[in-house]
Subunit: 283 residues, 2 copies
Amino acid sequence: MRTPAQNGELALLLEVASTPKPGNVDRHRDLDDLRFEHFLAGAVGARDGLEMAATDSAIGPAFERAIEGMAAQEGDNTQFGALLLLVPLVRATRNDLSRSAVESVVEQTTVDDAAAFYRAFEHVDVFVPDPPADMAPLDVRRGSDAIPALEARELTLVDVMDRSVPGDDVAREWITGFERSFAAADRLETKSGPLPDRAAAVFLSLLADRPDTLVANRRDETTAREVSQRAAALVDRNAIATDRDAVETFATELVDRGINPGTTADITAAGLFIALERDTVEI
Amino acid sequence: MRTPAQNGELALLLEVASTPKPGNVDRHRDLDDLRFEHFLAGAVGARDGLEMAATDSAIGPAFERAIEGMAAQEGDNTQFGALLLLVPLVRATRNDLSRSAVESVVEQTTVDDAAAFYRAFEHVDVFVPDPPADMAPLDVRRGSDAIPALEARELTLVDVMDRSVPGDDVAREWITGFERSFAAADRLETKSGPLPDRAAAVFLSLLADRPDTLVANRRDETTAREVSQRAAALVDRNAIATDRDAVETFATELVDRGINPGTTADITAAGLFIALERDTVEI
């Protein structure tokens, strides 16, 4: 029987091992400067923060610790978004792991949690788009320099997430009761076969559902929509079962074009965690 | 900066991610009933035992805990031998991680440590050959039923290892001051490129040096020698750099024939740990 922190770490490892996961690092693909082993080290490093999330520690410091540990490898940012989902989910296991339990966790976050979230950006280089003008003092790239503005406006961590929606589908999970994370877990449970294969199929289905917000922010919305529509076409004809080569080709094409649907991978990791915790998937 | 327990877990993950690793599960190959994800879960589960090894816990109970955690996945035995090397190595980091430090660790093991080692076999199905007749009461497959015989003969854990040599090259590490584990670390440090690629090259060189004892025990010595000679031929012509296809073909052939040089993989993991601890390899 694994602990929630162990399941959190294992979810990160299973996510990166799942293949084909178009555009992302997976068991069969590296990016130029972000390799499979960076994700392995990132997951190992994140565990202490996940252990904190399972205890009485506040959510913000647990997240900051997870990011600091994750970033102790040369690939820099490997699992920032995934940990932003896993930390409240791990905490929610202290009751039952339900959507209402994790909603309650995020609703109880404080201004101090938000400050720790901002400090986390000092440990790692995360891609974020320019904020609107009135939010410039709260640009996460300012790190702890933004904390006074945060305190002046009395923004808690869930308030910060609320202001990142629409545009960031990791933040959207925080204000929708982790809707897509739980949907991903449900899908993992209804599929058969080895868990990484199921996770790859769920990744593709999530990508088909909604354009990936990291792609939209790094590239543009047109590209994000194109990628989502192509994933939907593959899902519609059940390509993973009937034409796996087409999915592999799509995966390699996105890597070659430098298009990385990282938000979709984050939600896949969250879904893996929920399914592991429910003990409804075997490994 | 990773802790010794984190480096121990990471060494297990990097070992299984290294490819091509002829005959074994690697980033690109699964066996029929032992898949990549089982090794991921095995590494996550082993961490608590590695944490114990880094503290005041006795070596035997730390090993038993590591095995119990490792075995909490459907592949059953994934990293038994590797953990038998990692646990004393993790303990040795409390001084400097040298051959004499780890020799001192194993020399201090007790009959109670040996009893815990026997109990570990109750958590997992490890392949071991039949012992000689006078050692039958101490057959590890008897698990804790063998403990009275162990106590009657006042055998410590290093005594048990001593009686497994020759024939088991994991046990041999215990009585040679971890000779090949440190040699593996030295080789990792002199190579260049991503760490998993280096580890695959070191694995092949270790296999070339000596026939794998797991292959000898599971199959026969002739097969073990043949595999080692073929590895040596590949190393002699620097095939990893000049004819990688030949190494990949050898890797797949051994998987197809069900020949798994697991002892060589165990020593590779130990070498990875030592190199990570010395901080002479980057990840």
